[in-house]
């Protein structure tokens, strides 16, 4: 089936540094999402993106977070600066019509 690719699968970064998480969504999809999951806990919505713009963002989407899809291919989540509490698995997802949503395997971010 359609695949969402996330690169890298694991990233370790020093607190205060900037990190960019990359997502290669399904090629013809129009809706894009980022979710955060702390180990063993539920998936929590961060932000969704459509037509080049943020549709909605949650309280977890702090001012240090930003998203963009600059070249129409990768959908990125940037955190600058990172904090210890940003350690989690970040899942990217995409959808064509906003109903059947496909998730990537996640990027495990460890802030030390």
């Amino acid at each position: 089936g359609p695949k969402v690719l996330q690169i890298p699968s694991h990233q370790i970064i020093d607190m205060g540094q900037m990190v960019t998480l990359n997502c290669d969504p399904v090629s013809n999809h129009l809706y894009f999402y980022w979710y955060k999951q702390i180990l063993g806990q539920q998936m929590e919505f961060l932000v969704n993106f459509y037509n080049g713009k943020v549709m909605e963002k949650s309280k977890l989407f702090k001012d240090q977070f930003s998203v963009e899809r600059p070249d129409g291919s990768y959908f990125t989540l940037k955190i600058q600066p990172t904090a210890l509490e940003d350690s989690a698995v970040y899942f990217c997802a995409s959808s064509l019509k906003g109903q059947e949503v496909f998730f990537g395997k996640g990027t495990r971010l460890t802030v030390v």
């Binding site: 969402v4 809706y31 999402y33 806990q41 539920q42 998936m43 929590e44 919505f45 969704n48 459509y50 549709m55 909605e56 949650s58 899942f91 997802a93 959808s95 019509k97 906003g98 109903q99 059947e100 949503v101 496909f102 998730f103 990537g104 395997k105 996640g106």
Partner: protein, 111 residues
């Protein structure tokens, strides 16, 4: 809020048995989705059931939806060890909107 909650928190069955996971949600929905998340992977959509549907099947999976009681169930028949995963229901107020997941039901299928 569009909160979705699954119950029970965890289930354990033997291979070949059936298992049912329940979900309750608040407010009106256009559709409810069931996802499965295996260890180390992202969620995978299993079934999307629309508000005008009462039942939907996908192979060994069967989802029901009762909009009057705002509840849904997902049943898996003839379970296999590879069905071991966390099962989530998720709702969204409309297409493209954020999906709100419950905490999930952990299903363990033992040989």
């Amino acid at each position: 809020s569009q909160l979705a909650e699954e119950n029970p928190w965890a289930l354990s069955v033997h291979e070949g048995e059936s298992v049912t996971v329940n979900c309750s949600y608040k407010t009106s929905i256009t559709a409810l989705q069931w996802y499965r998340q295996k260890s180390g992977e992202g969620p995978a959509q299993l079934i999307l059931i629309r508000s005008n549907e009462r039942e939907k099947r996908n192979g060994r999976l069967r989802a029901t939806l009762d909009t009057s009681s705002q509840s849904s169930s997902l049943s898996i028949t003839a379970t296999r060890c590879e069905d071991t995963a966390v099962y989530f229901c998720a709702t969204a107020p409309g297409a493209g909107n954020k999906l709100t997941f419950g905490i999930g039901t952990r299903v363990l299928v033992r040989p």
